[in-house]
């Protein structure tokens, strides 16, 4: 069992929901990412989604776009990200890390070299936003050749054919996109999401984690109640955007910056 699957299974065994924060690696400065990751774990994160910044993030809303711009301005590359994961792993052997990003930087490096580095650095899985399953075979083989989980998105618009292919290629968990739109938008229709998730349960045993549009304890509660857990991105990246590259922060300050994660943890643990 992968570290991702084990982590989720153990939460489920405790009757608890999974909490996954998303941050952009290198945002706003290279040196802040690892301390932020530890602060996230201290605040109750179960898994960390670490965004690999791309110049043209066409599935992201303004908040994460700005995060990616800050990270790129700080000079973040895949090499730096592998180094961050390595450094994080020196202190934390348990928290799974999923790298999430767009295809072009990965293709530029080459799937095999990329998967090999990801695995060697100690990360656990990959989610490539603009790589649909019909185009993914080579990537899939490289990832699984290095024991990495492959997570794919399921959207409200996903039809049955595609759902079957997505379930076949997904390991670790399914990432259910709560809304039609980009990251950071607002969830409008809980009833529809509930119905979709109920349907997903009939076609897959994979854990279903909901993301996009979860910004506080209230929205997290609503989604966690009908799924296996939640992903929090824009609300967090927005706060991290107020930090300054090159400035030093205490642990307590970073925990305060990611305070929304602590709040959501307490809220969903009360479910």
């Amino acid at each position: 069992m992968s570290r991702i699957s084990e982590t989720i299974a153990s939460k489920q065994a405790q009757g608890k929901k999974v909490l996954i924060p998303y941050i952009v690696a290198g945002d706003p400065g290279l040196e802040l990412t690892v301390p932020l990751m530890h602060a996230l774990v201290a605040s109750g994160a179960d898994i960390i989604e670490l965004g690999m910044p791309f110049s043209d993030p066409s599935s992201d809303g303004p908040v994460i776009q700005l995060g990616a711009e800050r990270a790129l301005r700080a000079g973040t590359t895949l090499k730096h990200i592998f180094a961050m994961v390595r450094e994080f792993r020196q202190q934390d052997k348990d928290t799974p890390i999923l790298l999430m990003g767009y295809l072009n930087p990965i293709e530029t490096m080459g799937y095999e070299a990329f998967a090999s580095e990801v695995s060697a650095s100690g990360a656990d899985g990959l989610l490539i936003v603009d790589l649909p399953t019909v185009e993914c075979e080579e990537f899939f083989a490289a990832a699984h050749g290095h024991d990495l989980d492959t997570v794919f998105l399921v959207a409200p618009t996903t039809n049955e054919n595609r759902l079957e292919s997505i379930c076949k290629h997904s390991t670790g968990y399914l990432y259910y996109v709560s809304l039609k739109g980009v990251t950071g938008a607002a969830i409008s229709d809980h009833g529809e999401i509930r119905a979709k998730i109920a349907h997903l349960r009939t076609v897959t045993e994979l854990p279903i984690i909901v993301g996009f549009g979860i910004k506080d304890a209230a929205s997290a509660l609503g989604m966690a109640a009908i799924s296996d857990g939640v992903i929090v991105g824009s609300a967090l990246v927005d706060k991290i955007g107020h930090l300054q590259a090159g400035k030093s922060y205490s642990n307590a300050q970073l925990v305060a910056t990611v305070g929304v994660i602590g709040e959501i943890r307490s809220a969903i643990d009360a479910l």
């Binding site: 066409s58 599935s59 711009e69 293709e107 530029t108 185009e135 399921v154 039609k180």
Partner: protein
């Protein structure tokens, strides 16, 4: 003439097309290793639906009859194939024939595509259309067709481009479109495309996205090519009619590549016709300040397809530079990437300076003010013509008129208008 009837011209819409290397893309939208569908999951269903609808419509003669009718009565086609006698004399060599897309309604080839896609939007019952634009020509063409069909229209345009193409911005507004300034990234065409994709994902139920060139996820590259190939179909017939033979060479500028593929496609099987796609050389390829992914880029994935791109060694998309907003794009349609790799089309470049010289030459010698985009094609055609003999023929795609560019040129001349 009968000699050429044997070759089944691509894009002829005759039911029997030979199945050869030029019959692409495959069912997944691949031209060789290029093309495909690389978008977020939310958009996949929309792209698939569009593919199905277009595939069905493309097999229906009634659809093409309506398209042809609009091109004739609304756009004013066919556009002339005009002998540029003084330019020919000036360059000293092959005959320069200009395919006059500048004479189309709205002043560029872009309208051919928007006519076709708007018919699809109408058929699919989408009341809201969105478009991205660089020079503003595609935005104007989209706003025009939206006005004609009574559709709501939103055009995404980079903040930088809004500054340099203010006349087109005002035209779009007059036509009733909402022009949205894109402030993210490099604030040019690529960022406008990103923003349009985000809008589409958000409003996927009621929105049709009219992409303005042969890029984007499948089926756009194939569909936009099919709509634009009216240019090459006409040019081929006009050459046979005027000269009793096919031209020796075709020259077109390449931004995303729609006017170029529109001219080239019906000639692809005519192996004796040489083809030149002219990218924006900007300050010169060697300076890195250009917009020439085929000449100086590498394959990658952007805006829904795999193609040649201008990206750095980390895979981040580079900012581009060209005096012409319509060529200022780091990618290119995937079919061009494939045509480059198989060697069917030569991809070359013209610098800002060369394009500006050609702009003035064409204006002064032919009384035709060409778009700065098209001026790149004229510039290269001039160089090419000089290496050829007077009995040879070059068809240059004059993709648009240059009224929109007079502010840019005046500014370069230090004149305030």
């Amino acid at each position: 003439m009968s000699e050429y009837k044997r070759v089944n011209e691509l894009g002829s819409r005759e039911a029997e097309q030979p199945n050869d290397e030029f019959s692409g893309p495959d069912v997944h939208g691949h031209f060789g290793r290029y093309g495909g569908v690389f978008v977020g999951e939310t958009l996949i269903a929309a792209v698939e639906e569009l593919d199905q609808v277009y595939t069905r419509m493309a097999a229906d003669p009634a659809f093409w009859a309506e398209f042809d009718h609009d091109l004739k009565h609304y756009v004013g086609r066919p556009s002339p194939l005009y002998f540029a006698e003084r330019l020919t004399k000036h360059y000293g060599g092959a005959k320069i024939m200009l395919k006059r897309e500048d004479l189309n309604h709205t002043g560029a080839h872009k309208i051919n595509n928007t006519i076709g896609q708007a018919l699809l939007a109408k058929f699919m019952g989408k009341p809201r259309i969105i478009a991205e634009t660089g020079a503003g020509q595609h935005g104007v063409a989209s706003a025009t067709i939206a006005a004609r069909l009574g559709l709501e229209c939103h055009v995404y345009m980079g903040a930088e481009d809004i500054k340099r193409q203010s006349a087109n911005v005002y035209r779009m507004k007059l036509l009733g479109a909402n022009v949205i300034s894109v402030e993210s990234g490099s604030r040019t065409l690529k960022d406008a495309l990103n923003e349009a994709l985000r809008d589409w994902a958000t409003n996927v139920d009621n929105t049709y996205y009219i992409i303005g060139t042969v890029a984007g996820p499948s089926p756009y590259p194939r569909m936009v090519r099919d709509f634009q190939s009216v240019i090459g179909r006409e040019a081929r017939a006009q050459s046979l009619e005027q000269f009793g033979r096919l031209p020796d060479a075709l020259v077109a500028c390449v931004g995303g590549g729609s006017n170029a593929i529109g001219l080239f496609y019906p000639f692809l099987r005519d192996t004796e016709v040489a083809m030149y796609g002219v990218e924006a050389g900007g300050d010169g390829i060697e300076t890195g300040r250009h917009a020439a992914p085929l000449s100086a880029g590498r394959p990658g994935v952007l805006h829904g397809n795999r193609t040649y791109l201008m990206s750095d060694e980390a895979g981040q998309i580079l900012e581009t530079h060209s005096v012409s907003a319509g060529l200022d794009y780091p990618g290119v349609g995937p079919e061009h990437s494939w045509l480059k790799d198989i060697g069917r089309v030569h991809y070359v470049d013209a610098t800002d300076t060369e394009a500006l010289t050609a702009f003035r030459d064409c204006t002064r010698m032919e009384g035709i003010i060409p778009a700065l985009e098209s001026s790149h094609a004229i510039a290269y055609a001039g160089k090419l013509a000089a290496t050829m003999s007077p009995d040879q023929i070059i068809i240059v795609n004059l993709s648009g008129r240059g009224d929109k560019d007079i502010h840019t040129v005046a500014e370069i001349d230090g004149i305030k208008i």
